[in-house]
């Protein structure tokens, strides 16, 4: 079974600064997908960024980028120029690309952006 570990329960950053959230996972699969989801206080889960394991290039979406280290099974999220609206819970998720297709989530990191 796949596991996803987020080792930082809480983090804080000053507005306009850069912060990196960590995620590691464990799998024996070779074909899979990785996601970062954001959950603001409204409770609505929103996809931030996704990465296909077969792609070596790190995914980027505006201020959000990932550092995908396949051999190390690491998938960290970097938020540049942090904004107050980035305050939320962030969940790392693993998607099985094989026959199971199940999404497995980490326990989340609560990020607070301070003015």
């Amino acid at each position: 079974a796949q596991t996803v570990t987020q080792s930082q329960p809480e983090m804080s950053v000053q507005e306009a600064e850069t912060v990196t959230l960590s995620c590691t996972y464990d799998t024996s699969e070779n074909n899979y997908y990785l996601f970062w989801y954001k959950q603001p206080p409204s409770r609505q889960m929103i996809l931030v960024i996704r990465q296909e394991a077969y792609k070596q290039q790190n995914a980027t979406e505006n201020r959000f980028s990932v550092n995908f280290q396949k051999a190390a099974k690491s998938f960290s999220l970097k938020i540049s120029d942090s904004q107050l609206g980035d305050t939320a819970m962030y969940f790392c998720a693993f998607g099985d690309g094989g026959s199971n297709y199940k999404l497995t989530f980490g326990k989340g990191t609560l990020l607070t952006v301070n003015p």
């Binding site: 987020q6 899979y32 997908y33 996601f35 409204s42 409770r43 609505q44 889960m45 996809l47 996704r50 296909e52 969940f91 998607g95 099985d96 690309g97 094989g98 199971n100 297709y101 199940k102 999404l103 497995t104 989530f105 980490g106 326990k107 989340g108 609560l110």
Partner: protein, 115 residues
């Protein structure tokens, strides 16, 4: 509808009563998940439906929990003889095809409080 809809938004029930939580996925989405999120915690997988395949029930915590998906669309999560530890937010998500490699869209959840 435009997104995943869950009802009710909030439910308060007495210990020992049965409750039903409803999820309307995005039209055409074949994959549907239920997750449980306790206060300040990550997402605990409960059950996964994919098309006409047998559901993956491996995350259901006890036989008091069950779920069905009628006509490949609407899903109902039923909790019998509710206990206080069942208090949590129950999130539903749907995805267009093979869920492992595509974005899962979430509803806003049902907050269940057992008193």
């Amino acid at each position: 509808g435009a997104g995943v809809s869950q009802s009710p938004s909030n439910k308060v029930t007495e210990k020992g009563k049965d409750v039903e939580l409803r999820c309307d996925p995005i039209s055409g989405h074949t994959a549907l998940y239920w997750y449980r999120q306790s206060l300040g915690q990550g997402l605990e997988f409960l059950i996964y439906f994919q098309g006409n395949s047998a559901p993956d029930k491996s995350g259901l915590p006890s036989d008091r929990f069950s779920a069905e998906r009628t006509g490949g669309s609407v899903s109902t999560l039923t909790i019998q003889r509710t206990q206080q530890e069942d208090s949590a937010v129950y999130l539903c998500a749907s995805s267009s095809r093979r869920a492992g490699d595509t974005e899962a869209f979430f509803g806003q959840g049902t907050r269940l409080t057992v008193v």
